[in-house]
């Protein structure tokens, strides 16, 4: 079932809820206050009656029936008098100010069980047909006559009505006031939420520079808005990064693709030379393999940055990985005339992914060999040390190094510092290594204290539990 449109706003729904709760509380309060005041009045009434009965009893004992009748008569005539009635053994009214009585009231002596109706002398003229209610005590006199002393309940009834009306009026005013105040205050708050949703609608519509309104009050809404704004900034930054990367990809893939195409075209132009076309085709394949490699590296980096599944983490032996990779590169280093040495503590293990760490380390060593091979007596030293609960692998080479101002850029995607791009490579090796280290919660730092470049892979202390 759909609510009417006005009820679908939070303001209206909350208002209705408040109104209901307030009404329940008010009703309970009214009922309680009136019943309490009536009870107090009833007790007062009864006390007065008991006192009267004692008075009349004394008069009766002093002067017998005659005195009693006289006192009754006198008291009956006073303004605002109580009810007095003296009845014969058969119930006929002998004296007092009661003209008629609800039947059966005199049958039992003691307190009347419940309020009864009666008519007072002269009432017929004042309020036609109006019956009054009263409570009374009935006393049986020794000569089987009955004496009734009572008090009209009109007063407590009136009092009850007055109290109830006053309370109702007061509560009604309060409720209405509270509701109005709440509605306006709530609406103001909700209006701000509406502003936020309006702003986010604009952002979704494509205006990415739009930001959510911040009033400056520093309240919850402001905190929410500024957090969302920071999130938008972050998204914007990521977007920019993505754009940068796609530009780089476009640029970096364009060159090899063009080369690929030219080579294929050249081979096609001269099909007579079988050896040459064969060589061209082989080069084409090699070139496409390089492209595939580049693609894979890009995909891998994106996945790492998007957060690889934590399932792939395991206890890994860094010493063993280091030995593996150094052994893998040792022949290549020797061929390039580079002295590759390893210095590793035993049994250093961290939580990580063996494949990724192996790949990152091999990229770094590959780079180190590539760039230091032109130096005199080139050396690449790989060391592994435990560092607190973490570990650190440093690859130090004797190559030209990277100037401090370029070090940050060196790990960006596709950045290749030497303008000639004379060394083969995709420009993704260090970016991948950095992504791997970031994924492990560690860091990749380039440094150049002394000669050459040193690349440090820092693994953080493993988390407890």
């Amino acid at each position: 079932m759909r609510l009417p449109a006005v009820m679908r706003t939070t303001a209206a729904r909350l208002s209705a809820l408040y109104l209901l709760l307030f009404a329940i509380c008010a009703t309970v309060l009214v009922v309680y206050v009136t019943s309490l005041s009536v009870r107090i009045l009833t007790v007062q009434t009864r006390d007065a009656i008991v006192e009267e009965v004692a008075d009349l009893g004394r008069a009766y004992r002093r002067g017998g029936l005659a005195t009693l009748v006289r006192v009754l008569d006198m008291r009956s005539r006073q303004p605002g008098a109580n009810l007095y009635l003296l009845a014969g053994p058969t119930g006929q009214i002998l004296s007092g100010n009661v003209e008629a009585l609800q039947p059966g009231v005199l049958d039992h002596s003691g307190w009347t069980e419940r309020p009864f109706t009666y008519d007072r002398y002269g009432d017929a003229q004042r309020s036609r047909g109006g019956k009054h209610t009263a409570v009374a005590q009935v006393i049986e006199l020794p000569n089987a006559m009955k004496l009734l002393v009572g008090r009209d309940l009109g007063e407590p009834e009136r009092f009850r009505t007055v109290v109830r009306r006053a309370l109702m009026a007061a509560l009604g005013m309060m409720g209405l006031g509270a509701l109005l105040i709440w509605y306006f205050v709530g609406r103001r708050a909700l209006k701000r939420i509406d502003n936020v949703s309006e702003a986010s609608r604009q952002i979704m519509a494509g205006d990415l520079n739009q930001r959510l309104p911040v009033s400056g009050a520093g309240d919850e809404f402001d905190r929410l808005s500024s957090n969302l704004n920071r999130m938008l900034d972050r998204i914007n930054a990521l977007n920019e990064g993505l754009k940068q990367v796609s530009d780089n990809i476009a640029h970096d893939l364009k060159t090899p693709l063009t080369r690929l195409r030219n080579r294929a075209e050249a081979a096609l132009a001269d099909v007579s030379d079988e050896a040459a076309s064969r060589a061209a085709l082989e080069q084409t394949i090699a070139e496409s393999d390089q492209l595939i490699r580049t693609f894979n590296a890009i995909l891998m980096i994106s996945r790492l940055e998007a957060g690889y599944s934590a399932e792939s983490l395991d206890e890994i032996d860094l010493s063993a990985i280091l030995a593996d990779v150094v052994e893998l590169y040792e022949p290549l280093a020797e061929d390039c005339g580079v002295e590759l040495t390893a210095e590793a503590s035993d049994d250093v293990s961290v939580v990580g992914n063996r494949e990724l760490v192996g790949q990152a380390l091999s990229n770094i060593i590959d780079n180190a060999i590539k760039y230091s091979s032109e130096a005199e007596a080139p050396k690449v030293k790989v060391s592994l040390k435990r560092e607190g609960d973490g570990a650190r692998i440093v690859v130090q080479d004797t190559g030209p190094g990277i100037p401090p101002e370029d070090r940050e850029r060196a790990t960006e995607r596709f950045v290749r510092l030497e303008p000639s791009r004379s060394q083969p490579g995709s420009g993704l090796g260090l970016s991948l290594a950095k992504a791997v280290m970031k994924f492990h919660g560690g860091s990749l730092e380039l440094d150049g204290a002394g000669e050459g470049l040193s690349v440090a892979m820092t693994f953080p202390a493993r988390k407890k539990g």
Binding site: Y308, L328, L332, D335, G425
Partner: protein, 224 residues
């Protein structure tokens, strides 16, 4: 060799079929998982090449159901995904090898041919012989023309893998996977240098080459 190719990309499948045919193999194409499962269940193939993401039924469930039915035909999983975890889940589902798209056909062909060989009992053989080259897996001895050759442990494993797959092309990534147990893409020519060292030991001083370079693909150990 008869190959069942379960791949929903029609163009890619046709290209692979043609390429396999040129390499001397016959490939049947199944365009979705359900068809693939039925073909595999009723036919007799030497190797399954299964794409992971398929219409109607995904590739891994096809393989695991075939395995549950007792079908041990080697299966190679093709996937556009390529995380280490994917490889693990792929192999756990009963796949025998895993290749990430994009890949070079030469890589796929080499892997498929090696998979097929694995069905033979070569794994339990203790001695490999290729021409005058012998390798004893128990004593770790290598001889060529009766003359003992001393190899480093890694060189021994490299030769062992090449000899087990003698006559077949093995790619650089396959070598890195099986000899070094890493699944990443080797940069530059690290593997080549290892091969040329090994070649120096098993060919130098002997009259004929046994370890051949297959350009654009990898290496092959074969007696002349």
């Amino acid at each position: 060799m008869k190959i069942l190719l379960i791949e929903d990309d029609r163009e890619a499948a046709e290209y692979l079929k043609k390429a396999f045919f040129e390499a001397g193999h016959i490939a049947d194409i199944a365009p979705d998982g359900e068809t693939g499962f039925n073909l595999a269940d009723n036919g007799s193939y030497d190797v399954y090449v299964v794409d992971r993401l398929l219409p109607r039924r995904d590739g891994l469930s096809v393989i695991s159901e075939l395995r549950a039915k007792g079908d041990t035909t080697p299966a190679l999983v093709l996937s556009a995904l390529g995380e280490v975890d994917d490889r693990v889940t792929g192999l756990r589902a009963g796949g025998d090898d895993y290749l990430t798209k994009p890949y070079a056909f030469s890589e796929l062909l080499a892997r498929v041919e090696v998979l097929r060989r694995r069905v033979g009992a070569k794994d339990v053989e203790t001695r490999y012989v290729v021409g005058d080259l012998e390798l004893d897996r128990l004593t770790h001895q290598v001889r060529r023309a009766g003359q003992e050759i001393t190899l480093q442990p890694r060189e021994f494993r490299l030769l062992e893998y090449l000899m087990r797959n003698a006559g077949k092309v093995v790619t650089r990534t396959m070598l890195l996977e099986h000899v070094w147990d890493y699944h990443f893409d080797p940069q530059t020519n690290v593997i080549d240098v290892h091969i040329s060292r090994l070649r120096g030991k098993i060919e130098k001083g002997f009259d004929s080459p046994v370890l051949h370079t297959v350009r654009g693909a990898g290496y092959m150990l074969r007696a002349e």
